[in-house]
């Protein structure tokens, strides 16, 4: 890996961490437990399009780990929820990207949907309770909306990037 790429990926990782921490201040999870808009996914989508699948895994894994370290929730329940959601989302996004059928909007929706599925599965497993599954339909429906918004935002960001030096 070239030094330039390392620096750029770590900058993007830092942006992701800031977005994730800022997002945790938004009270969306009071309205519907487990719901997040997923601003941090902008960086994942950006890296996926600009650098490829491997770099996206690297940046997102680092982001989840470091953001929870900074928030003081490392290895707590919310960390595992976030990690399992991110893992499933990354798997789905990689597969979706590999097939080449989806635009960035579709990849973003895939990621959002699988993030909620992963979280609900983890909650069910940790608490051995099934009340979270009641929220799954709502979370899935909302993830379509939030996924489209985040995908559109990432596309806008990439359009602006095009004039710059290629990376």
């Amino acid at each position: 890996m070239k030094t330039e790429k390392i620096v750029e990926l770590s900058f993007l990782c830092a942006i992701g961490i800031v977005l994730q921490i800022l997002e945790s201040f938004l009270p969306t999870s009071w309205i519907i437990p487990g719901f997040k808009i997923g601003f941090a996914n902008i960086t994942a989508l950006f890296v996926l399009k600009m650098y490829g699948i491997q770099s996206m895994w690297l940046v997102s894994a680092m982001r989840v780990f470091l953001a929870s370290l900074l928030q003081g929730t490392l290895f707590s329940v919310s960390f595992w929820l976030s990690a399992s959601g991110a893992f499933l989302a990354l798997c789905a996004m990689s597969i979706g990207y590999k097939t080449g059928w989806f635009s960035i909007l579709g990849i973003s929706v895939l990621g959002a949907a699988f993030h909620s599925i992963g979280q609900v599965l983890m909650v069910t497993w940790i608490y051995q309770q099934f009340f979270m599954q009641l929220f799954l339909p709502v979370l899935l429906a909302l993830s379509i909306v939030s996924g489209l918004c985040i995908g559109a935002l990432s596309q806008l960001m990439m359009n602006r990037w095009k004039g710059r030096k290629s990376i």
Binding site: S24, S29, P33, G34, S78, L81, T99, W101, F102, S103, I104, L105, G106, V109, L110, A113, Q119, V123, Y127, Q129, F130, F131, M132, Q133, L134, L136, P137, V138, L140, A141, S143, I144, A152, Q155
Partner: protein, 120 residues
């Protein structure tokens, strides 16, 4: 920025899954399934509401007979001046307990839908 065909299919599939699972889940989980019977603040009996049946506990003034039918519970017979709890009839709401003060007996329905965790 345009939606490809696969994007549209994905969104439609997600909507269908979300709608169908909503109907599937709503049919199952809203019912309370347990009633606890307390005599003198002590839990003496836990009744499964999914099964119809007759139960009886020893209250202060003698036997209190309890009947379970169609996920609801009622007191059928008891010794007390006004018979208030047997007049109350069937109860299936966890917010409404059956209280039999002369017998010091309380029947409380417990739902599993109580929120006891906060997820961030």
């Amino acid at each position: 920025m345009k939606l490809t065909k696969a994007d549209r299919i994905l969104i439609v599939i997600l909507m269908l899954i979300s709608l169908s699972s909503l109907f599937f889940l709503l049919g199952h989980t809203t019912q309370a399934n347990r009633a606890d019977v307390y005599v003198k603040e002590e839990k003496v009996l836990s009744i499964d509401l999914n099964q119809d049946g007759q139960y009886s506990v020893e209250g202060t003034n003698g036997k209190v007979n309890i009947e379970v039918k169609d996920h609801a519970v009622r007191v059928t017979q008891e010794n007390s001046p006004h018979h208030l709890c047997s007049k109350q009839g069937f109860v299936s709401d966890s917010n409404v307990p059956i209280v039999c003060l002369p017998n010091e007996t309380v029947i409380q329905i417990e739902g599993d839908t109580k929120e006891d965790t906060v997820i961030q």
